[in-house]
Amino acid sequence: MAVMTKQQAKHFAEMNDFFLDLLNLLKEKGIINNQEHRVMLLTGFEKLVLNLEKKKIISVKEAKDAIAKGFTSLVYALAK
């Protein structure tokens, strides 16, 4: 499911500190609610990936790749 454009993904991938901005975008798009935003801010990247996998926003493989390769892999998965 495409949550952002490829251009947006590129922009995120080039940011120095991206986590909060990504969570804000996901909340804006209605993918996560306030409570989930808060939980993932506190608990970190892996929890975000698992949440998105559970909601089928990303596939099992994309989630596995994101946990192994990190943020850049995730944002490009969200741009498909």
Partner: protein, 654 residues
Amino acid sequence: MYGWAGQRLRIDLTKGNIIKEPLSSEYRRKWIGGRGFNSDVIYNEVPPDMDPFDPRTRVCFGMGPISGTAAPSTGRVTVSCKSPLTGGFGDSSMGGHWGAEVKYAGYDQIIIQGRAKKPVYIWMDDDKVEIRDASHLWGKFPRDADTIIKQELKDEDIHIMSIGPAGENLVRFACTFNDIWRAAGRTGHGAVIGSKNLKGIATRGSGSVKIARPKEFFAVCNRLRQMFKNDPMKMGLYEYGSLCLINFANRDGWLPWKNLQYGGTPLANNMSGETHSKTVLKHREGCYACPICCGRFTHINEGKWAGEEFGGPEYEHAVPTGPRVGIIEDANDIWHNARLTNDLGMDGIETGAVISAAMEWYQRGLITAKDTGGLELEWGDEAVVDQLIQDIAYRRGFGNILADGGDRASDKLGLGDKGHYYTITTRGMSLPGDDPRGLGFGYGLSFAVGTRGGCDHLRSLCCLELSGALYPGLNTKILGDERPAKPTTTVGKPYMVYYEENQKTVTDCLNVCCFTTHWSYAVLTQDQLDYFNACTGMDMTLEEFLEVGERVYNLERAYWARLMSGAREDVVPERFTKEPMPQHVDYQTNVGATLPIDEMLPKYYKYRDYEPGTGFPSERTLKKLGLDYVADDIRPLRKRYMSESEQKKKKYYY
């Protein structure tokens, strides 16, 4: 009740009252213990405008629900007060075995208030607590007080917390020890304890800690102990103590040389852990339930200090009265200086920092021998350093000026802003033996915003950039990127600092040693939650657990806000932003680095939801954390902080 003892001890030394206060389930869930319990008491019971030496002030010793159990490294104690050094919120942490003993005696926290008419010590024998005469102990080193008390009480197995002469003389960075050598070094609570005429607390505890789900609890503990067997940081710390960092620090340019004018010295190996273990290590020591055993016991074998021995030193203990003051050629001088600060009961970091500031004032002609009572403060002069350490502890001569900390000393000497440039402090507390231009930009950011002043290696150190590279994939798992593992990058650092501060805070609420959960990553947050829930039966979620850390952190930040300390005071020493790191060895990795604090601070504020103008915690976040009363406290202060008159004030301490 599982985990907790369920009560705290409040001792009023003025009235001689000893009261046991129950701790409700709601209170324990909200604050967990340790730093959480203490911060709540200091916030609510010590007004920000109170003199830290006022008899009405409090000193708190906080244990946690896991204290005294088999979980790894659960013997620590948090000591909290209004700091006489900074004037703001202060706390420190010590290892040893005393914390577990207090827990076995049946208490989760001890609060000391009032002032005894003459020197006393407290004897806690399980539920029997008495205040005893300590006139015969006043003036004694902690090691001697320990011996005398054990003889008096006819029990070698009791555990004792005590202060040294520096605390009795109200040196603003005096500290406490338990089991003689395990120090809670920072923020000067030793002086607050001394101001109450309290020498120490001796404890015998014959109770135990009840575990809610013992099979599950011990399964977690055993799994974690297995993890330590091959853990890379543990192996280094066991083998060489925290001195294992010396050669890394020198290579990466964060070993302070001459008040951080340089990031190292070609002779650093003289004091490395490897050299220490071959020349002066008598034996290794461990704290309660610790699988790491980073403690050292040193015996000096030769030279003018031959025969001296003491527990320690740690990296942060040895570096300040070693390379920071220009001493490196004879490592025995460094071990002797560390022994002295221990016996006198002073924060080794602050002692070395204030002497090195004075040496740089002298180097640059801001002071002369006329100001120092004839002492010529030349770098590397051991005789001068030896004398000054003692003069500070006993408040003699020039030492009496330095005993109030670098920034107050600078003001007393009339040195103006120029003097403050060389004190290397934030909010009045000195940054320790780690230059952020080399150790890491995250570390530098945490100096600026730390809730006890120039926060340091045990409080705000972002270990994901110190040791994260030893754990491939860990930075990605938590932060989403491996790049933040590189010390001298700003990539990912605002989130790293936010995450690590919360996690470190809840670790302090549990009173678990951060060497097991940060320096080493054998224990992760989920592991801590697993043994916490199995021990207490509370069944918290991961977010609720980390939220406790965020709650405590914001409470401490709000205490500073009440002192009119906020965004303008979130600064680092100008040396780090203005002076590119010079070269000291040809293999140095951070030549030319400065700390880009302004790139990281605004983003960090967004993570913390601090208001951009004031730097105060937002009302929204405080209410989310159940701190409505704190929001009420600081609401009227925002306008005042932004007023013209406040903006004109330059605050180096409070």
